[in-house]
């Protein structure tokens, strides 16, 4: 019975349950960064990894429910994918280019096209760089 009392309570317990399913190898990235996301796709029994290249326009949720929205423009048509960050089907995430943005959600990019939809590159150091 003592064991039960040592155990985390309330939300902490739920966090403990989620923990083994969280990834620890997610690179630090922010909204505005260009990402290469490797997505596992099962096709006719075979599994392969498809890379989705685009700009991260939103990071939402916390813990195991955290998702990212990645946007790219394909043949003039905007494509957005909402990806669960900790899903096993997300094989890899690579930061290709850092963006300097002043918003947490870049929904304004949807109304813009071509040169207006650019995001300036961020060359500054970030706190997460120090290691």
């Amino acid at each position: 019975m003592s064991k039960q009392n040592d155990q985390p309570k309330g939300q902490d317990l739920l966090r403990m349950v989620e923990k083994p399913y969280l990834k620890d190898n997610i690179p630090p990235f922010r909204v505005g960064d260009m990402l290469d996301v490797g997505i596992r796709i099962r096709e006719a029994g075979k599994e392969r990894v498809q890379t989705f290249h685009g700009i991260c326009i939103a990071r939402k949720g916390g813990g195991i429910r955290e998702t990212i929205t990645v946007r790219r423009v394909v043949q003039g048509q905007g494509v957005e994918r909402i990806l669960p960050l900790h899903s096993p089907s997300i094989e890899s995430i690579k930061v290709v280019r850092r963006g300097k943005v002043r918003r947490a959600k870049l929904h304004y990019l949807r109304e813009r096209a071509g040169r207006a939809a650019r995001v300036r590159e961020d060359f500054r150091k970030r706190p997460e760089d120090k290691k």
């Binding site: 039960q4 317990l13 349950v17 195991i64 669960p84």
Partner: protein, 210 residues
């Protein structure tokens, strides 16, 4: 061994399964339960095992029960429940029953709990009546409307759905899939929701119809 243990609903979350699907799960603290009494047909009129769950402050337990726990050699518990023993291995007085041993290899469970009380609920919430439209001449609001005819049968039919007390009743949810069993922490993760509030007591048994 026994078929059923007492537990506590801890809350809900989601976890990924092997194929990468997010599965909604309810986290249940199941056990450890302790055998407080072994009843026999000859002595007590029934073959059953009484199990206890939850730490109770000794001061909150009345004297007869305190004696009852002392007899079993266990600390005071908050919930007691008779369960049916199973197999040839009879649990002994004072034995500790854990999820790891009772629910090992079990794929589905039934969960019994007390649903959240909704007080005196109207007919829209309680029975899913649609109420009247807010506009376009609707004029009876959230009432149930007519409850029957006039001269025949001249009374309201039994079982007519009307407003009244809702919730806070015993609800059994059958065949919930066991997603994960964490024997170290006495946790059972079942797919889907379970009646009752967080911290509410639940009974968890091996699925009857599977």
């Amino acid at each position: 061994m026994v078929k059923m243990l007492i537990g506590e609903k801890k809350g809900m979350t989601q976890i990924f399964d092997d194929s990468g699907t997010l599965v909604p799960v309810t986290v249940l603290q199941v056990g450890p339960c302790v055998v407080t009494q072994v009843k026999t047909l000859a002595k007590d009129g029934t073959d059953a095992v009484q199990i206890g769950f939850g730490e109770a402050k000794p001061g909150n337990v009345n004297k007869p029960l305190r004696g009852h726990f002392a007899k079993a050699g266990v600390t005071a518990r908050t919930v007691l429940k008779d369960v049916v023993p199973e197999g040839d291995q009879m649990p002994q007085l004072g034995d500790e029953l854990r999820v790891g041993s009772v629910f090992d290899g079990v794929s589905h469970v039934d969960v019994i709990g007390i649903s959240k009380g909704r007080g005196f609920a109207g007919v829209v919430r309680r029975h899913g009546f649609s109420g009247s439209p807010a506009t376009h001449g609707g004029r009876f609001g959230r009432h149930g409307g007519s409850i029957g005819t006039s001269a025949t049968p001249a009374h309201v039919l039994k079982g007519k759905k009307m407003a009244g007390h809702m919730g806070a009743e015993r609800i059994t949810v059958r065949n919930l899939e066991v997603v994960k069993l964490d024997a170290d922490h006495d946790l059972l993760l079942v797919k889907g929701s379970v009646p009752g509030c967080k911290g509410g007591y639940v009974l968890v048994r091996k699925a009857l119809r599977r």
